[in-house]
């Protein structure tokens, strides 16, 4: 028991430490696609975050609210990470309704993110938040729908249900639905309109600097890793029956990285969308996907 818990803590710590490293790898790959050298090391994102933490904290009129909310945000994101299976069923995720808890926490992260970025009241940030909220509302809806469909499909409100999920077209379609919402939810081009550097001067992040920016950036990367981790779990958990828990736990970070890189490469190929086009283009993907999922389910394939 204690061994299981301490092993879990080690794996969780690793999971918390790797998102900035993955971003470093992404930056290198993006640089390659741009025909340039890119950052000097893969750890560059880590160095950036650490440097931000060394800078002074600037407290503005609304700074206190920002600091409090950022603390709350990072705590929530870390807790959300701890409710995710890391390629194996952890002591937390094997509980009765861990998938429900995870879903609620994930929505909580999104809400906290929106309220944190709303605090400075900068016109750019405000526009960014409205964009974020609009995209988020649509995306979250389908994300939750995908997770609920997963619960129904596995017949369990716990992650453990996934271990016994049988591969089928329906499962694949649920996976695709969640993959799309993970892509959009992780704020990648074309859906990074809330930040949109050349339009809004980093939008939601414009007023943040120093440790505050460090925290927001780190929670952003961690949230990305959680969303991709969920996808990796959907692949690996059913496989544990064949490959075993130990192998699955070791493959897990690699799988998350693979998903991360695939998404990164896709976003390099595309431009940024616009707030009035985005909902339409999202619905154009989501609605057919949902219908296909329902049909497949009813057909039992």
């Amino acid at each position: 028991m204690w061994l299981a818990i301490s092993l879990y803590i080690v794996f969780l710590l690793v999971f918390l430490l790797i998102p900035p490293l993955y971003d470093g790898i992404e930056r290198k790959i993006r640089a390659k696609l741009h025909s340039r050298i890119g950052p000097p090391t893969l750890l560059q994102t880590w160095y950036d975050i650490l440097k931000l933490f060394k800078k002074e904290l600037v407290i503005t009129d609304t700074g206190l609210a920002s600091v409090l909310l950022s603390g709350l945000l990072i705590a929530t994101v870390i807790i959300t990470a701890s409710t995710l299976p890391l390629g194996f069923s952890t002591p937390i995720t094997s509980s009765g309704s861990s998938l429900v808890l995870f879903t609620v926490l994930l929505i909580g992260c999104q809400l906290l993110w929106v309220s944190l970025t709303l605090t400075p009241g900068n016109p750019y940030a405000t526009i960014g938040v409205f964009r974020e909220a609009l995209i988020g509302m649509i995306n979250e809806f389908f994300l939750v729908m995908g997770l609920v469909a997963l619960m129904f499909y596995t017949g369990s409100p716990s992650f453990d249900g996934m271990i016994w999920a049988r591969p089928s077209l329906t499962y694949l379609l649920i996976f695709i639905l969640l993959a799309v919402s993970a892509f959009i939810g992780s704020g990648r081009i074309p859906y990074d309109i809330a930040e949109a550097e050349p339009e809004l001067a980093s939008g939601v992040l414009i007023e943040f600097s120093g440790p505050l920016l460090g925290i927001t950036l780190y929670s952003h990367y961690l949230k990305r890793a959680i969303l991709y981790g969920l996808l990796a779990d959907m692949i690996l958990l059913p496989l544990t029956r064949i490959i075993g828990v130990a192998v699955s736990a070791l493959i897990y970070p690699v799988m998350v990285l693979a998903i991360w890189i695939v998404f990164a490469v896709i976003s390099v190929m595309l431009g940024r969308t616009r707030v009035d086009i985005a909902p339409r283009s999202m619905l154009k993907i989501y609605i057919p996907l949902t219908i296909a999922m329902l049909i497949a389910w009813l057909a039992g394939v």
Binding site: K32, L33, H34, S35, R36, I37, V265, V268, M269, L270
Partner: protein, 179 residues
């Protein structure tokens, strides 16, 4: 929308693969400069005669000429230089060359100034300042040998000498002038 059209943006991968990495780790790898590159100028102190032709041509006034006591100072301030190379073009003795040097940043403006000091020649008649350097005089003699007898004199002494020689020709005696 056809699938082909949808996948077209992925051509980026083949473009990127074919072009490879094009940025360089400057300054660890030397950046590319063509043979024609114009950098800072270098003034050959053994040739410069301080005539100021470059100063007249210099668009940003990076080259300046000043006179202090018995000297003419040609100053080159890199901070103002636009690296056009006009000075090299107009220099009558080819003392200025355009180099390939361009990494000129410095924390001290002293590093950005180069001065060349020329002594002003004295009039061989009255000993007053002549306003010209010895190389300028040599240059004049080289291009107009007839002036050899006059260039070492100041305008006043030159006039005197001219009148003197005219008078001599007309029969005056030397003592009339030296007495």
């Amino acid at each position: 929308m056809s699938l082909k059209k949808l996948l077209k943006p992925f051509k980026l991968i083949s473009i990127a693969r074919r072009s490879g990495v094009v940025t360089v780790l400057y300054p660890y790898q030397k950046s590319l400069i063509t043979t024609e590159f114009r950098g800072k100028i270098s003034i050959d102190a053994t040739k410069c005669m301080g005539c100021g032709a470059c100063v007249n041509a210099c668009p940003p006034n990076a080259l300046t000429l000043s006179r202090r006591d018995d000297t003419i100072i040609l100053n080159y301030f890199i901070g103002r230089c636009i690296f056009c190379g006009r000075c090299a073009e107009v220099c009558p003795v080819g003392a200025i060359t355009v180099t390939h040097e361009f990494e000129l940043a410095s924390t001290s403006t002293r590093d950005l100034n180069e001065s060349l000091v020329h002594r002003i020649e004295r009039c061989s008649g009255c000993g007053g300042g002549l306003g010209a350097t010895s190389r300028m005089l040599q240059y004049v003699i080289l291009h107009s040998p007839a002036s050899e007898n006059y260039v070492h004199l100041c305008p006043d002494c030159r006039k005197k000498k001219l009148i003197q020689s005219l008078a001599m020709k007309m029969g005056a005696r030397t003592e009339d002038y030296e007495g």
